[in-house]
């Protein structure tokens, strides 16, 4: 772990439950770059929701968040349910992937921003190292959504995630759809233990679902 100094500032408890034990010192690393692998549009939607829920936890009331992409499809009104005021997100829409890389690095250098989120296809080792150096100085959280990645190359990101949606659960015989549930897979984490968890996000809090196989309770089709 050469050159990596964990941020000793005020650490934030995200309330991720057992998942947090996977991180070094049991704390979600905020001054770091996380990458999220998305292989389908449903996974992208789930990842966007998961990221919004995480960022909401450490975004203070007056902070801003920057979202850089080639074509942002995030629908801002959905974020209120996840705990973020949508007008505190600044969207930057750029034409080329290299421009996104440049803007991401500039934004990661800017101290005081809650999180910088970038949508990329691939990221090279060099680019990820530059991001890592930037966040070590500025203590900004960098989040990269890798949409349809071509290769799973090694890079300097602190953690690699994969979020996929899972069927929601409701109390017996209730109609409708329950709280969003995700299969959270921490594929790689520096100094931590990777693993798989089933998380539910309800009323601004995460809850870990302990059922072994969520698919065994397939309730009958109910219509509200």
């Amino acid at each position: 772990m050469q050159g990596f100094t964990p941020h000793s500032g005020n650490s934030v408890r995200l309330g991720l439950g057992p998942l947090e034990a996977a991180f070094p010192n049991g704390v979600f690393p905020t001054a770091a770059v996380h990458e999220f692998m998305c292989h389908s549009i449903e996974e992208i939607a789930a990842t966007e929701g998961f990221i919004a829920a995480i960022v909401a936890a450490f975004m203070k009331s007056d902070m801003v968040c920057i979202w850089i992409s080639k074509s942002p499809h995030l629908f801002p009104p959905s974020l209120t349910a996840l705990g973020i005021t949508p007008d505190r997100i600044i969207f930057i829409r750029l034409k080329r992937e290299v421009d996104v890389l440049w803007a991401l690095e500039e934004a990661l250098k800017c101290e005081g921003i809650a999180a910088v989120i970038g949508e990329l296809k691939d990221i090279s080792l060099t680019a990820s190292r530059r991001f890592q150096l930037a966040v070590e100085k500025s203590h900004v959280t960098g989040i990269i959504i890798r949409q349809y990645p071509r290769d799973l190359n090694t890079n300097a990101c602190t953690a690699r995630w994969n979020i996929s949606p899972r069927p929601s659960e409701l109390q017996e015989r209730m109609p409708g759809i329950g709280y969003p549930r995700w299969n959270v897979e921490l594929q790689k984490v520096r100094n931590g233990k990777p693993g798989v968890w089933l998380l539910e996000h309800a009323a601004g809090k995460f809850a870990t679902v302990t059922t072994k196989d969520p698919r065994q309770h397939t309730s009958a089709r109910k219509i509200g």
């Binding site: 801003v64 499809h73 007008d87 005081g112 929601s168």
Partner: protein
């Protein structure tokens, strides 16, 4: 400081120019003509022709009868304006504020300039001599008001009117010296009021009733009771720094050093005055008189030299020094008032109004253009595509609260895409749907949310939205467009994805 204005009157502006262009005309009798109502009318005459009796407004045939060897030159339209513009720009050596005073004059704001020439007499002598060398005969006067200087230059033999002596200078002049239109002047003459002294002391109400407001206004302007502004040919940029170089500069490093120095000087000045740059132009004047310029803009006023330098640094490579640059000019073409920032010991985070964020966004807009950055604010519409508005302004607050009771997808397709469904008629969510070739069996669904079109904006079908979840746990936002009717093929669409 008292204001001083210089009025320059070119007695034969176009004629002098013609002589300059063709020296053989110097001793000749020539007239300038223009076609008017099918006749050739004289618009200007040389001194010789004037002596022989040719006057402005005369028909050419009449003048030819008086002067047999008269030379006739075509008067180009707008020639006088072009000449005045050129001479006016040349006159910027005398004062930064030069205005054109058509049809044949210039007005210079000489406040605080004359002492550099060692007095007003030397100042106007220098102007007259230099213009004489260029070939123009002029009459020049200096006074406290543009109106008085104008009158004295054209109708008096004096040239310097001391401060506050306007009345004395104006009294013996004819009424036309007040820059009046011909109708008013003729009316004054008809009443025997030939000179200014005849009517200037008359009751103002009487003058107003007979000659209108214009006469009073002209008197007031000449007397300095009403302020008259002149429009400078080259707008004066108050925030400007110059850096002449002893040796021509040709390297990027040299340009950077010059830029740093010039920025530092300008930023120091702006900081003292509590102002910030919104738009700045950095000009490099090359040895061969080429002007290379780069321009930057900021989202909010800034006098942070380091930040502004970064913005310029992106564009320095666009400057082509050629044979070398001998003068650098930095102009802040748009500055705004800035509120002094409180120095803070500990920064919690950077909000929408913070300087760090503004500087970051400046760098991004400087590189990619204005319209890459946006924020979204709620709009008072239920229709999903219209429920948000974008803004580029960072400080703008939402005019209404974000709705928090609606189920909305995180990922919205830019256009709803048609899907094939199997659905019970009439009002139930589909049992399954096919999207991009894949069949999704719906297991759970929320109740329908009907969103009507806003008929005052556009027409069309309403949408019945369903939030559904398939057997793999993927969550979608589907809608049916309108009611079922027999002949519609694609009435179901997918519009978004829930987390």
């Amino acid at each position: 400081m008292a204001r001083r204005y210089v009025s320059i009157w070119f007695q034969h502006l176009v004629g002098d120019y013609m002589v300059k262009r063709d020296p053989s005309l110097l001793e000749a009798a020539f007239v300038l003509t223009m076609q008017k109502h099918g006749r050739m009318i004289i618009t200007g005459a040389s001194a010789r022709a004037q002596r022989s009796g040719a006057v402005q407004g005369m028909v050419l045939a009449d003048a030819r009868a008086i002067i047999p060897h008269l030379r006739v030159l075509e008067n180009e339209p707008q020639l006088a304006d072009r000449l005045l513009d050129g001479i006016g720009k040349w006159c910027i050596r005398f004062t930064p504020c030069v205005a054109v005073d058509p049809p044949s004059g210039l007005m210079l704001d000489a406040s605080g300039c004359a002492h550099l020439w060692g007095g007003e007499q030397a100042y106007i002598d220098d102007i007259a001599n230099r213009l004489k060398k260029l070939g123009y005969s002029t009459r020049i006067a200096i006074a406290d008001t543009p109106g008085c200087a104008w009158a004295v230059a054209r109708f008096s033999q004096h040239s310097i009117i001391a401060e506050g002596d306007m009345l004395k200078a104006l009294l013996p002049l004819p009424a036309a010296a007040l820059r009046l239109d011909t109708i008013t002047t003729e009316r004054l003459l008809k009443l025997g009021l030939r000179h200014i002294k005849n009517f200037i002391s008359k009751p103002r109400r009487a003058l107003q009733r007979r000659f209108g407001d214009i006469l009073l206004q002209r008197i007031d302007q000449a007397m300095g009771m009403e302020y008259e502004s002149i429009i400078p040919l080259v707008p004066i940029i108050p925030y400007q720094e110059r850096l002449p170089c002893l040796d021509p500069i040709r390297t990027a490093t040299g340009i950077e050093i010059a830029l740093q120095r010039i920025l530092e000087a300008l930023c120091d000045r702006l900081q003292k005055e509590g102002k910030g740059i919104r738009k700045a132009i950095f000009k490099a004047i090359c040895v061969d008189h080429r002007v290379e310029s780069i321009e930057i803009g900021t989202n909010r006023g800034s006098h942070n030299g380091e930040h502004l330098f970064k913005l310029f640094a992106e564009k320095i490579q666009q400057i082509e020094p050629g044979l070398g640059i001998e003068l650098f000019i930095l102009e802040a073409s748009h500055v705004e008032e800035m509120q002094a920032q409180q120095e803070v010991l500990w920064t919690g985070g950077c909000g929408l109004g913070s300087v760090e964020l503004a500087e970051l966004l400046d760098r991004i807009t400087n590189k990619f253009g204005e319209n890459v950055i946006c924020r979204y604010l709620p709009a008072q519409h239920h229709w999903p595509e219209r429920s948000i508005t974008s803004t580029t302004y960072m400080q703008q607050q939402p005019s209404s609260a974000w709705p928090d009771d609606l189920m909305r997808p995180t990922h919205l397709l830019p256009e709803p895409e048609p899907i094939e469904v199997t659905a019970p008629i009439p009002d139930y969510p589909p049992m399954n749907f096919r999207y991009k070739g894949k069949l999704h069996n719906i297991k759970k669904a929320e109740t329908v949310e009907r969103i009507e079109r806003e008929w005052w904006i556009d027409g069309g079908e309403h949408r019945d939205y369903y939030y559904v979840e398939d057997d793999e746990g993927k969550r979608y936002w589907l809608f049916r467009s309108g009611h079922y009717t027999g002949d519609k093929t694609y009435s179901w669409f997918i519009h978004g994805f829930f987390p």
